[in-house]
Point group: C3
Chain length 270, copies 3
């Protein structure tokens, strides 16, 4: 039954073709735009503080990714986030590298006081920082210390910020504080291409713009993406060809693949 | 005879290898640079207001694309545009998303008072906004309401701003206010890859830098690009592989392909 | 024996997986990040003046590339460069387009007074400008006037700035002012893809972070990259597919290829 909900969420994206406003980092703009077009959405990337509020107002979703923030970009993100809250546009926040510098950390905590995201997606160390649970970090990449505490981190982020929390890694954990899903789809080559985390954030942002159950929407995007990556890896000769084929697979994945390949463990569905 | 002119224009680009200065958006920098190198030009991307005038002065053409403008970028664009007019460097303007926000709309109209472009290239809704003819818009993407009024839009832009106007879409319309060409080359996958409109703008910018008849140059670039896209689509498995093959085809397209595949309708050649 | 040192340098990169902080240009962020991940490093791209010093302090290397500098970016680069000197993090500087505008030239000379790079990598015209030896320039691209003076240029840059100098082109020249290596690996398609020079700068930056002999490290990165390009070209159909395959080859190049394919001429090893 849950798999049916997953497929419905993806279908809603394809039918509604939501318009998503992205305030994202300089490294992944092109990859994110292409990945979200392939997924069935219309991306807008507009960063000027002068126009972000107007752009959010005509959008169906907002993606905020702090990978390469500057003071002007932070100003635009806060204006956009507040306006999104006012007009009811769902927000996904990707706290890239939070904990790596005090500027980055202070910025995220400031943002979380200024507007409320719908979903927060990060790797384990980033989400640990938001949960204020100790975790080893190496630059902007996470060092997995084991799977034991990741569920605690996800749950704390979900409850503390009243969001759907997605802690991604070899296994993805999604929770809204009550429902939990563990997703084991994906492929190691994802970690050999820059922006693959940013892209799944954007796909979640697209899905919560189309599917009102934001927990289901988040699980759907992660599962779809993981399966697309598994398929892309089959004929990949390395990270270059993998990235190209990932776009092709996101574009054309047959939803029946979800029935056959989804590896989701549902915990404590209430 | 016109096909011969088209081929001559492309040959001039390949021989002169013009140096083109791009002030473009953050999403398409890499794609545009690679596409214009493949086409036979040397791209320069330099955005600092401190240096754009000097860079324009040594360039053969200027591309201005407002996709992700900020106040500093607008300052640089106006400085570059004015200098280009002074030194006789042809300019192509791509009014990405004009009409979507008042900031974007005001900026374009301000630019058009500060400098005169040689060519303006946009989708139907963008060009309708410049022509001040009503048209439905969805974010930065155009919604085609039908082909009826597109010719009127192109003609009005051409006459109002004294430019060659290119209204692109399923069929491209090019006019200098007297001569008109309708180009039916291209492929639906172009709309599944970000920056494909921005790239054809850049290719037109390269061609008007090499071919003095700017109407012919614009038709040449659109036709060449459309045929390259058709060829790229043959073996594409989706938008990822299409984008890669589009680069390969732009790089090596045999000009005899233009004789065989060009779908151009010439109207009212004076 | 030198080939063994080359291979050891690459092995050190793969084992240490250095964390490299990049302050680079807007055109190549994605390509550079993917290329350096493929090479075995963790890239960080963080540009805000508020955080670059903290980010450098946790990094193993710093890459500074002035391709699309603005005043804010220059501020960040100088802060990062000074901090890197303080904490002993090696720096590679890529003076993209120096000589093309006075802003660019003044900025580079200002930077060279504010911090000391470990390696400088540029094309012939860029390095000639740093050496204050006349050389013809066309925009940001170099026009080779012949091979005669390139060695003099490299030697002068090395001695004047107390760096390892790498003058790249059809043949690459590397010198620390005493030892000299000439590398003839590479492929013409490298000049048909944007950012291939920026990427080799980044790979050198990664290698000097892992191998203390910075001359050997620089030769190693250039040789590895040239061989990867030769392999990538074998099945390439043009610059698009070449760029994709280059990533695949950087990722998986067998070090035994270096024994078989390296074309290095060692001069005056002291």
């Amino acid at each position: 039954m849950e798999l049916e909900q997953i497929k419905q969420a993806i279908k809603k994206v394809r039918e509604k073709k939501p318009l998503i406003h992205h305030l994202t980092n300089l490294v992944v703009t092109n990859f994110t735009a292409n990945g979200t077009i392939a997924y069935g959405t219309s991306p807008i990337m507009a960063n000027a503080p002068e126009e972000v509020e107007e752009m959010v107002s005509v959008s169906n979703g907002l993606v905020i990714n702090i990978g390469t923030i500057t003071s002007e970009m932070v100003e635009a993100m806060i204006l956009a986030g507040k306006k999104a809250n006012q007009v009811g546009v769902p927000i996904i926040l990707d706290p890239v590298g939070v904990g790596a510098t005090s500027y980055r950390t202070n910025t995220i905590f400031n943002m979380l006081e200024q507007f409320k995201p719908t979903v927060i997606r990060g790797n384990t160390s980033e989400m640990a920082r938001l949960a204020e649970i100790p975790w080893e970090i190496k630059g902007v990449d996470s060092v997995d210390n084991g799977e034991g505490d990741r569920l605690a981190i996800a749950t704390k982020v979900a409850k503390k910020y009243h969001v759907v929390a997605a802690v991604t890694g070899k296994e993805d954990i999604v929770t809204d504080g009550e429902r939990i899903a563990l997703i084991a789809n994906g492929h190691p080559l994802l970690s050999e291409v820059t922006g693959t985390g940013c892209l799944v954030t954007a796909l979640i942002g697209a899905t919560i713009a189309a599917e009102e159950d934001h927990f289901i929407a988040t699980v759907a995007a992660l599962t779809y993406y993981g399966i697309a990556a598994e398929r892309a890896a089959i004929h990949a000769k390395g990270p270059g060809s993998f990235a190209v084929q990932l776009m092709d697979e996101i574009h054309q994945l047959d939803l029946n693949e979800i029935d056959q390949k989804a590896k989701i463990e549902w915990v404590n569905i209430v």
